[in-house]
């Protein structure tokens, strides 16, 4: 059974990739992922904003109250060698090095920048530290009513162009689902030099606490139900935009991975499933996949990739928006049932 695939020009032994998450903060866990069969790992993101914030914050708290009182010139010790403070990207870059030493699967660094200079600088450092590829995580919530979608998209495209010009390793861009004309935007990113698109990042929506009337963070892991949004969009984009696709959000089971492949993804990424069931889950999914492929007589992953993309299916309209009306009507007929949404049936 040939499970191999390629992604961003990297040859992978199978399509399961661990997406960005705290798992990659620990070398042992990444080793374990490799043992369990994961084909590549994306590291947690390096946030430029956080680096800047942390160094300003550290400086503020280390120096607050100093020189204000004759009995105590400071309240927190200076380390004998202040250079030892690694505020900044050093910890991250060191982690790339450690992971590269520890495992032989590709390690993809992930970057969330703020300034153009920052994006370029950190991307270069990641390349130097040995990352096999870089995923640009353009996580940004535009709340300014003055900012138009075309301005924002143009800025992202320019960013990809700038980073592309400054590093030679492959580049992927991880997007949120909130773009108006996604196919056009995806194509612009490809033209600017993106080798792959990672669809879609999943945002953690804060919740309200009705007792305290506070806005509270609420981390909920995904379920397989959430697969459908990226599934549909990869089906639609496959063959239309010339890049590799990584499907993220809602990949939990072998079925989910197979669907992703059929939609046209090069790889299927997992975070929630790994956080919930830990690294050994990859092994299970791989063996279920092989079992399914054997019983339906598939020889390879390549054989199925894109087989259910919009271009390949019998009824392309099934994936388009008009279908929504049909679904709604059928819902009214079988009233009482849950609202059906887009899904593939794997027989």
């Amino acid at each position: 059974m040939d499970l191999s695939t390629t992604y961003l020009g990297l040859s992978l032994k199978n399509p399961i990739v661990a997406s960005a998450s705290p798992i990659s903060e620990r070398v042992e866990r990444v080793k374990r992922l490799e043992e369990c069969g994961a084909a590549a790992v994306v590291m947690y993101s390096l946030f430029e904003e956080q680096i800047v914030h942390e160094s300003l914050e550290l400086d503020y708290y280390l120096n607050r109250g100093t020189e204000s009182f004759p009995e105590a010139l400071s309240y927190i010790p200076d380390l004998p060698d202040m250079g030892r403070y690694s505020v900044g990207p050093e910890v991250y870059l060191e982690q790339i090095r450690l992971l590269k030493e520890a495992v032989s699967i590709p390690v993809i660094a992930s970057l969330n920048g703020v300034s153009t200079g920052g994006w370029i600088k950190y991307a270069q450092k990641m390349e130097q530290a040995g990352a096999d590829a870089i995923e640009l995580n353009i996580y940004y919530l535009p709340v300014d009513p003055e900012l138009t979608s075309s301005e924002l998209e143009a800025a992202y495209v320019q960013l990809v162009r700038d980073v592309r010009a400054s590093v030679s390793i492959p580049l992927a861009v991880k997007l949120s689902p909130f773009f108006t004309a996604l196919p056009h935007f995806a194509r612009s990113l490809a033209e600017a030099g993106a080798d792959g698109l990672v669809l879609f990042n999943r945002f953690y929506q804060p919740d309200f606490d009705l007792d305290t009337l506070d806005v509270v963070p609420n981390l909920r892991l995904s379920t397989s139900d959430e697969l459908r949004l990226p599934l549909r969009w990869i089906s639609l984009l496959y063959g239309r935009v010339n890049v590799d696709f990584a499907l993220t959000t809602g990949v939990h089971t072998a079925q989910d991975v197979l669907k992703a492949m059929m939609a046209g993804a090069n790889v299927a990424m997992m975070t929630s499933a790994l956080l919930r069931h830990s690294e050994g889950h990859v092994q299970q999914v791989l063996s279920d996949m092989t079992g399914w492929m054997e019983s339906y007589e598939y020889e390879s992953i390549r054989q199925m990739q894109g087989s259910m993309s919009q271009r390949a299916i019998e009824n392309p309209a099934a994936l388009e928006r008009t279908n929504y009306i049909k679904v709604l009507n059928s819902f009214q007929e079988v009233s009482g049932g849950p609202l059906p949404t887009m899904n593939f049936s794997l027989r």
């Binding site: 550290l58 280390l62 105590a72 010139l73 030892r84 690694s86």
Partner: protein
């Protein structure tokens, strides 16, 4: 870039104007006097000159000959340092008193008073109906001292009442100070002149009630948002009119008595804490000496009262010797008896009468407090603390635990927790903190409590009241957030809560008296650890900086600290179980004794 620099220079030059200095001063702005003109003469002339930085001009003859400085003088030093102060919204306020309780600087006060007292109030003075079951038909005001507020914002953080249509608006909110300074200063003065609550009509067993008591520790120079001073202030509210305080060197001795002004204050009757600072290494003994002196004086006074039985009458003698002074009512009644006693004695001319006159006040119960930080109690003064709690004498020890020597700049003490960075532990403290409370509990005769008002304000209040009521040594260890933790001070109370939730600061009260009442003496007042300590620790620079300097060591120490937490919690639980077994055994023995008759009869 270079071109833009040139442009910047050019534009600067284009906007430079020459200012001609007028030959004569034409402004009519004047500086306020350092101390208001209505202040007492000594404050105006001596302290005022010191505040103005003009201390060298004061003649030696103007200074107190024995070093005794008048208290209640910070009220005259209007430092006026905050650009923002809280503003009260009476319609939203639930009158819980929490804001006043946590204010480190005693800037927020609450009063319940008869509505008639509002006559002549300034136009902007706020008042609403009091919501106290003890005081029907009364009015309520929560007032802020605008020129004493430090802007620390703890009061707003703690306020639980939110506007239903706009949850960001609370019953107290920060607002720009300059536009309301004059108006609020005027309101503050009016407020001060409203009558104080009748202490005998109030049981301070709730936060809201406790905050009707006048603080006798106010406007100290502690850092804005200091975690220590709210505890000190609470003690002053509950017992300040009869307390004698021995204060160890440390932050509390600096903000408690640094010249020129003194935050320890007096009430309208002129009563307030008598306070003195001693050394790091002898403060507990210093306080014990105060206790022994009072006890001796009281003993002699009682002897004398009995000698004067005939002159005083048996009612007065009985009252003086056997009065119940366990609450403010009892204290007030005893004070009245002492006044009568003094009146009677004025007519008697004998050496004994003169002795009794000078000692009469010691017949009123005094509250001895020994206060200091962890550097004192855990380290330098530890031998003395141990000696004093072993003495069995009735003293109250309050440890303001910042887990570090704060005043001298953040050196590690034995209270510094594992994994935290401090001076002398720049690589993160490798050993766990000493469990001072457990050591004290081992005697079985010491009242011990561990408190953190950010987690439970009521538990803190109960512990401090019980400690004072316990007729023996008491030790209250109070979590005090501090600038040396490297935190956003407005989140100080949140950190206290997280410390307890993480199990780093379990709350308990150990009251030996309960055993004789057939109750478990050890009560755990907080729940089992429910969050990882990282969730608390990594909000604080003292922990976080280790991650940045030596990530592996930080992870290693934090893992050990996490184990410490579990072990400590189990240990406390086992102690509770042990005492429970002891209580059950007592109950069973008592039941057996009553059903079988006394052991003697059996024999």
């Amino acid at each position: 870039m270079v071109q833009r620099n040139f442009e910047a220079v050019d534009q600067t030059l284009a906007k430079l104007y020459e200012v001609t200095v007028p030959a004569a001063v034409s402004s009519n702005l004047t500086r306020r006097p350092t101390v208001p003109t209505e202040a007492p003469a000594f404050v105006r002339d001596v302290l005022g000159a010191m505040i103005a930085g003009d201390g060298d001009s004061i003649p030696v003859s103007a200074l107190p000959i024995d070093g005794t400085f008048p208290s209640a003088t910070t009220q005259w030093e209007k430092r006026n340092i905050s650009l923002e102060i809280p503003v009260w919204e009476p319609d939203l306020c639930i009158q819980c008193g929490k804001c006043a309780y946590v204010c480190p600087h005693a800037v927020i006060r609450t009063k319940v008073y008869a509505p008639e007292a509002l006559e002549g109030a300034p136009e902007a003075f706020k008042s609403t109906d009091a919501r106290f079951k003890e005081f029907p038909g009364m009015a309520y005001t929560l007032q802020i001292a605008p020129e004493d507020c430090t802007g620390c914002t703890l009061c707003v953080e703690v306020c639980p009442a939110k506007d239903k249509s706009q949850v960001g608006r609370k019953a107290i909110n920060m607002a720009a100070q300059p536009p309301i300074r004059e108006q609020e200063a005027c309101n503050w003065n009016f407020f001060l002149n409203l009558p104080e609550i009748d202490r005998t009509a109030l049981v301070p067993n709730s936060i809201k009630n406790s905050q009707l008591l006048q603080p006798l520790f106010e406007f100290s120079g502690a850092c804005a948002g200091c975690g220590e001073t709210p505890y000190v202030k609470l003690v002053s509210q509950l017992f300040g009119d009869r307390s004698i305080i021995a204060n160890a060197t440390g932050c509390s001795s600096i903000y408690g008595g640094n010249l020129p002004t003194t935050p320890w204050a007096t009430n309208r009757d002129g009563r307030g804490p008598a306070w003195s600072n001693s050394l790091f290494e002898d403060n507990a003994e210093f306080g014990l000496g105060m206790r022994l002196t009072l006890d001796k004086q009281n003993e002699y006074a009682r002897e004398l009262v009995q000698q004067f039985g005939a002159e005083l009458g048996s009612d007065l003698v009985n009252g003086l010797l056997h009065a119940d002074q366990s609450d403010d009512g009892g204290i007030a009644a005893q004070r009245a008896r002492v006044t009568t006693l003094k009146e009677c004695l004025h007519n008697v001319d004998s050496p004994q009468a003169r002795d009794l006159l000078s000692l009469a006040d010691t017949l009123v119960k005094k509250s001895v407090w020994i206060i200091g930080g962890d550097g004192w109690a855990y380290d330098i003064g530890y031998g003395g603390v141990d000696h004093v709690i072993a003495s069995g004498r009735n003293v109250n020890i309050l440890v303001l635990d910042t887990e570090v020597y704060s005043n001298t700049g953040g050196q590690a003490s034995k209270a510094t927790p594992r994994a935290a960075v401090a001076k002398f532990a720049a690589d993160g403290k490798a050993t766990p903190r000493k469990d001072l409370g457990l050591i004290a509990m081992a005697y079985g005769t010491v009242y011990v409590a561990r408190v953190a008002m950010g987690y439970s304000d009521v538990q803190t209040l109960n512990a401090i009241r019980e400690a004072e009521a316990y007729n023996g040594p008491s030790l209250v260890i109070a979590y005090s957030h501090c600038i040396a933790h490297g935190i956003n001070m407005r989140k100080g109370l949140d950190q206290q809560k997280l410390a307890v939730q993480a199990g780093l600061w379990p709350l308990y009260r150990f009251n030996p008296d309960r055993l004789s009442e057939g109750k478990n003496p050890l009560q755990l007042d907080s729940k089992a650890p429910s969050i990882p300590i990282a969730q608390y620790a990594y909000n604080e620079t003292r922990y976080k900086m280790l991650v940045q300097s030596d990530e592996q060591r930080a992870a290693h120490l934090l893992a050990l600290a996490q184990q410490d937490v579990q072990r400590q919690w189990q240990h406390y639980h086992q102690l509770v179980d042990l005492y429970e077994a002891e209580v059950q055994a007592q109950v069973t023995a008592a039941a057996a004794a009553s059903s079988n008759g006394s052991p003697k009869e059996q024999a």
